[in-house]
Symmetry: C2
Subunit: 473 residues, 2 copies
């Protein structure tokens, strides 16, 4: 079942040996929190990507920073890879033991350590998920806005520089992580940042770690910004006769500086998948799903502005979801898009795309890519955080069909090249993982790649931290 | 005049030789754009800090990235320091040739290269100043919000991770730089980032460079986010009978999530300096200077909320500045605070402080520090970007008086320790430079400092890029 990747995106695969002595040492220290059971290893040997590689040699369940330091110290001594594992929701092969080694599961490090409501900050362990966090701070009237589709772990969201539907207003993980505790390759515990909202104190190690995909250190604590729940929230949907109209509406909204909180594009076919998966009865036409945050008057004003812009662009059936229940239903459908799509073709796997372009090029980029997908006949879905210029086609392939995989990869490749030629990026929020190594090389260029490799080499000289991700060493 | 620094903040001073052969090679290449005239060297051998060290051996005026690459290639071959120089407005000794070498003046690289109004981005050379940039984009209805007191260069603002009065709403340089062109120590031209608003493509080299104070590379091009000018702007001032009331008003505003654009604290004594310097007649009492951005209705609503909060905290004489002229007058006075303070004691130099704390600790931190300054009898001013938890005392010392310098440094030291113990940072926006090396060490800890040094060593193995700043190698 392990269909090969197109060669330009294949990371170096060289399974390293995991010595029995290391496993013994881990078992000695962690007892049954170190597992070599095949089922456990297999569960930690895959993610939401479509790659299939052999599972890790063992899984260790950490409960503290000291545990993490212990694992790293031992693995560094044996030069054996360590792959941090949170919720398992990566889309790009981040969690796969491409060079063998140990999966370091931090999902049991799931304590909310401090809620500093007066400072609008919270400090959590890396295994806390975004939904768990929001549940834990609900009573304060504050919320954490970053929301990738899955109920990802905060540690994993840091590692991939995740964002989601609220980024257009609240930023991404890059803007919302204030500080970290990190365990280095040698097992040393390091702190970055403070709880102050801004700082010019030395190199920005926090931002270096955010997006480093487990290759520079293991995140063991995260301090985040949180926000007052808006006094008023309203959501609206609006349908368009073409994707172009929906996208041009979005571009107008952003260029006019309307402080919209969320603006999501869903194409007609994908709305159909929502309907079937979430038992909705939406019109199966290109749709914008929007949300406005602010004071009651401010929300009303924004919404009126947007309604007018949409109408000028041919938007129809502008509908309000004013009750929390209606809103939740729509947003749950949106967050389940990926699973709705998978369900639409039983047994399929999705190859996700994730380009992000400057907003003025968004219509061109989406339309050309939609045309190509349509012409190819491949099953696919389309959703997008279009306010940021970020969108996702997902190609639904039969994992056994090499032809379908190659078709999907070639569509993705064309789209990435298009986005890059427009001043955009191959990944807005999913990360490079194993999947986009070749694309990063083209996007960043040799000089920047050499810097990344030099930093990696100096901070992880034995290349034990999630090797074979982001770049080949 | 070169009064010694307290030893805990003294960087390693070891003037390196600048070989005549290097000067000859630079002269051969740059002609009269390489100057060894004493006046030129002296002008490049100081900044707004109070340190006095020998000037650089020569100054080269670069006009292009190729020029910068040429200088770095040559200096790297000779292992001679290079200090990038923009507007000369650093407050922390960043520009001083503490180890000798060449000042690389990029102020002639002052072209606005691209205005992509539809994408809300602009690309500039590093010598463009913030005022020049705003002048150049005025016709588009867009503006660049980051505004340190001085008319700093964009390159320098990147290097120090600058912010200013608008950061509470628009973020700092960290949030507003999308990408860079950088020349490395070996003279290689590198690009970081894209024009897309977000990206998860590899290590965040953009953020690594932002705040690196010229120690990792020379910034030769900057792509920035710009913003639609708000439809409505209004400014207000409000006076309080104590600093505490003013600060508690600010804390309430932030905790309630009012999207205020600017909220600046000025103490009564400093208001007096404004009055004399800018010919104003403000009440000489603790004052908040605020600005609201949005739609006309939104601005009105925010302002009413804030007026009510201020009144509950004893705020008096809430006054509106609704015409652009009134607003400009108030903000110009605010931006000239530093110079107004210097003028208040002819011949003095200012020792600036720059702590930033979590907002809930702001009142405690400011009040204790104000009491200490008052008790010491030292001349000082106090202004603050209090919405971010960031404030500046400036101690106005006679540069010839070792006693005054020591007093100022000891007040600063107490304040930094206080801020750090509250979860804050020794510098919100000015950077480490030569002045805060000891404080950074305490704040970041050994493990993080070791990472910074390791990164520096690997990217600049001969330690030619602005050596003796941020840390001692």
């Amino acid at each position: 079942m392990n269909a090969p990747l197109p060669s330009h995106m294949l990371p170096e695969i060289a399974q390293r040996e995991t010595p029995a002595a290391l496993i013994d040492a881990l078992r000695g220290h962690f007892g049954d929190r170190c597992s070599t059971a095949l089922a456990v290893r297999e569960q930690h040997g895959r993610d939401e990507s479509s790659f299939i590689v052999p599972p890790p040699a063992a899984v260790v369940f950490a409960q503290s920073s000291a545990d993490v330091a212990q694992v790293l110290g031992l693995c560094n001594a044996y030069a054996v890879p360590v792959i941090p594992f949170g919720a398992g929701s990566s889309l790009e092969g981040h969690l796969l033991a491409i060079q063998g080694g140990i999966s370091l599961d931090v999902s049991r490090m799931n304590q909310v350590l401090a809620i500093d409501a007066d400072d609008l900050t919270v400090t959590v362990q890396p295994g806390v998920t975004r939904k768990q966090l929001n549940e834990a701070i609900k009573h304060t009237g504050l919320f954490f806005p970053i929301d990738p589709g899955a109920d990802a772990s905060i540690g994993g969201m840091c590692a991939t520089r995740a964002s989601g539907t609220n980024a257009v207003r609240y930023g991404t993980m890059r803007e919302n992580v204030l500080g970290l505790e990190v365990v280095t390759a040698e097992g040393r515990v390091m702190r970055t940042g403070t709880r102050a909202r801004k700082s010019s104190a030395g190199y920005d190690l926090t931002r270096l770690m955010v997006g480093s995909e487990g290759t520079l250190g293991v995140i063991t604590e995260v301090t985040l910004r949180i926000y007052p729940l808006p006094e008023a929230i309203s959501a609206a949907i609006c349908f368009f006769t073409s994707i172009e109209e929906a996208v041009r509406t979005t571009i107008d909204i952003i260029q006019l500086g309307v402080p919209i909180a969320r603006v999501e594009l869903v194409d007609g076919q994908t709305v159909g998948m929502f309907n079937r998966h979430s038992k909705l009865s939406l019109r199966e036409e290109p749709m914008l799903l929007m949300e406005f945050h602010g004071s009651p008057a401010g929300v009303k004003e924004q919404a009126e502005q947007v309604e007018e812009i949409a109408r000028e662009r041919g938007g129809q059936a502008f509908e309000w979801a004013t009750t929390p229940e209606e809103r939740t239903r729509l947003w749950t459908a949106r967050h389940n898009a990926y699973f709705a799509a998978l369900q639409s073709r039983p047994g399929c796997r999705a190859i996700s795309t994730d380009v992000c372009v400057p907003i003025s090029r968004l219509a061109d980029c989406i339309l050309a890519s939609a045309q190509e997908a349509h012409d190819s006949g491949i099953a696919h879905f389309l959703v997008g955080h279009v306010g940021d210029g970020n969108f996702h086609f997902g190609y639904l392939i039969d994992p056994l069909s090499q032809t379908e995989r190659e078709l999907a990869e070639s569509l993705n490749e064309k789209m990435v090249r298009r986005a890059q030629s427009m001043g955009g990026t191959c990944t807005g929020e999913h990360g490079i993982g194993m999947h986009k190594i070749g694309f990063l090389q083209e996007e960043a260029g040799d000089a920047a790649l050499d810097w990344m490799r030099a930093i990696k080499r100096t901070l992880d000289p034995k290349n034990i931290l999630n090797p074979g991700k982001i770049f080949c060493m």
